[in-house]
């Protein structure tokens, strides 16, 4: 078994009974609940497409825009800080880095775990969105959610948004691992999230900013889809590579 696989299995154990593990279902759960309350019990249906497939896409888009604009950047910020905090908080580095395991393995495992958690939450949202849509259909038929949901479209877009979040995950992962203070990671994440909310609405700049790249997958009919996919992947790999180099050469307390 490779060192990385073993480190990932160790990470999974470390996550037992942690807030970070609970946040994987809770974060998309909040978005689903909000949508359920808003659309399931709304007396006046919002103006939307009359075509059932378009109505489904409109519904899924609304759900994912909320997720990718606001919740995902916050989720990545907190998860990165919590994952790194497991080691910073109890001075674990002096134990881990004194093991005969390549230093970068520990940091790579952290970044991989962050990506896995983001992927799990996003895919959970993708799977649960049509289910919530079905509940809304029963509670409030006026929303126009009839027929079968666009599963392939939804899952492919959800996967694309995960790739587009590559740069953001690598960046927040690096900040959280590099600085021991929880405040630094949360400050960077919050500043990025607020800026991303404003910049993300710009057609000209939105697809350039790591915090607003993922949402571009669903905005403006995905006009920047390929750009954010490539940029998220390339920048993500580049930043992750830099993060591994930087963290591995540091002397931790």
């Amino acid at each position: 078994m490779s060192a990385l696989v073993r480190a990932l299995r160790a990470e999974r154990i470390k996550l037992r009974h942690t807030l970070a593990a609970w946040m994987v279902p809770l974060a998309p759960g909040v978005i689903l609940l909000l949508s359920l309350v808003q659309l399931g019990f709304a007396h006046v249906p919002p103006p939307g497409p009359t075509d059932p497939m378009e109505a489904w896409k409109h519904f899924c888009q609304g759900m994912f825009t909320l997720w990718l604009f606001l919740m995902l950047p916050l989720f990545i910020t907190l998860q990165a800080a919590l994952l790194a905090g497991l080691e910073h908080g109890h001075h674990q580095w002096k134990h881990l880095l004194a093991l005969p395991v390549p230093r970068r393995t520990h940091f790579m495992a952290k970044l991989c775990m962050l990506m896995a958690m983001v992927a799990a939450s996003t895919l959970l949202l993708a799977v649960a969105t049509p289910l919530v849509g079905w509940v809304i259909m029963q509670l409030n038929p006026a929303q126009g959610l009839t027929g079968s949901p666009p599963w392939a479209w939804l899952v492919s877009r959800a996967l694309a948004s995960i790739v587009a979040a590559g740069a953001l995950m690598a960046l927040q992962g690096w900040v959280a691992l590099r600085w021991q203070s929880f405040t630094v990671a949360v400050s960077v994440g919050t500043a990025g999230m607020v800026s991303g909310f404003l910049i993300g609405q710009s057609d000209r700049l939105g697809h350039w900013f790591p915090w607003s790249m993922p949402v571009q997958v669903f905005l403006r009919d995905g006009v920047h889809l390929w750009f954010v996919l490539v940029a998220g992947l390339v920048a993500g790999v580049a930043i992750a590579g830099f993060a591994l180099w930087d963290c591995s050469r540091r002397e931790y307390d």
Binding site: I13, R16, H17, H91, K94, A98, L99, E251
Partner: protein, 302 residues
């Protein structure tokens, strides 16, 4: 065979001492007490020995194998605990060991073995946050034992322990050294503890090694003081001074002569001839504490 050997090992920090030109020699199978006042460079040395810090100059060898920031293979022979044990309090004792076992690609049996060795088998499933300080310390040592090391490096392992915990830890370390032949390199502030457990000592002060060797050699080097219990200690002091000695009045009934110039029997004879009542006369071995303060030029804060 040396378990640890350093030559010219140097690491400095801005504005504070690190270590300079350190030449440690820790024989395999020994219990080596690494002593020094706060800020002497003990933790820096330990971090260098575990490749947690980059060496500025010099070399480190563990069991003859060179170790450096970039060459860490010899660490597979080393178990360590630096300052407080590195534990995940939300996990059980067993899960904490499982994390390290996975990273080391060790056998599952090594967990039960380590738990048994430190006497934590019954508490293995409890979360670490429920453990007492002594139990945490023992679990920290269990973590260090997971890779079945030939060398155990412990930085202040008795920190925060109550007397019972200290006795428990001492017994454990002596067992590891005696039964398993593990070389133990430990730093401690508790000189009396080191005195009871260590075969060898190294004294570090302001980043430099002032002494290293067996406890006996340290005592031999300094010579045991002559202790005289008598009826009138002040009068005995005067007599000794008259004989050209440099006596110290310890209390109203005891005089010490740290480095007598004359033979003991000659001093004894002179004192008796001068009519002093001598109740006890003999060499009193130095405590490690006294030797430590002599070496470092410090005085105990009373």
């Amino acid at each position: 065979m040396l378990a640890i050997q350093t030559r010219g090992l140097t690491r400095r920090f801005d504005g504070r001492h690190g270590v300079t030109d350190l030449a440690l020699e820790v024989p395999a199978g020994s219990v080596y007490g690494f002593l020094g006042p706060n800020g002497a460079g003990k933790t820096t040395t330990i971090r260098l020995l575990l490749a947690l810090l980059r060496e500025e100059a010099g070399e480190i060898r563990l069991f003859g194998e060179p170790l450096s920031w970039t060459r860490r293979a010899p660490l597979s022979e080393v178990g360590s605990m630096v300052e407080t044990p590195s534990l995940y309090p939300h996990l059980s004792g067993r899960d904490n060991l499982e994390v390290t076992r996975l990273l080391l690609d060790g056998e599952t049996a090594s967990i039960d073995e380590a738990l048994a060795l430190v006497g934590l088998t019954a508490d293995a499933e409890r979360r670490v946050r429920e453990y007492s300080l002594g139990m945490r310390q023992r679990l920290g040592i269990a973590l260090a034992l997971m890779r079945r090391p030939r060398l155990l490096v412990l930085d202040e392992p008795t920190n925060g322990l109550d007397p019972a915990g200290i006795v428990e830890l001492r017994a454990l370390l002596l067992r590891l050294a005696g039964e398993r032949g593990i070389t133990i390199f430990l730093s401690s502030h508790l000189l009396s503890e080191v005195e009871q457990i260590a075969s060898h000592v190294g004294v570090l002060h302001q980043g430099q090694l002032l002494f290293q060797g067996t406890q006996e050699s340290l005592r031999r080097r300094h010579g045991d003081p002559l202790a005289i219990r008598c009826g009138d200690a002040r009068a005995v002091c005067d007599s000794l001074a008259h004989l050209g000695e440099q006596p110290q009045l310890l209390d109203e009934g005891t005089v010490s002569v740290p480095a007598p110039r004359r033979a003991d029997h000659e001093i004894n004879r002179c004192l008796i001839e001068r009519g002093h009542a001598i109740h006890a006369f003999g060499r009193r071995p130095h405590s490690l504490e006294t030797l430590f303060f002599e070496l470092t030029g410090q005085e105990a804060r009373t």
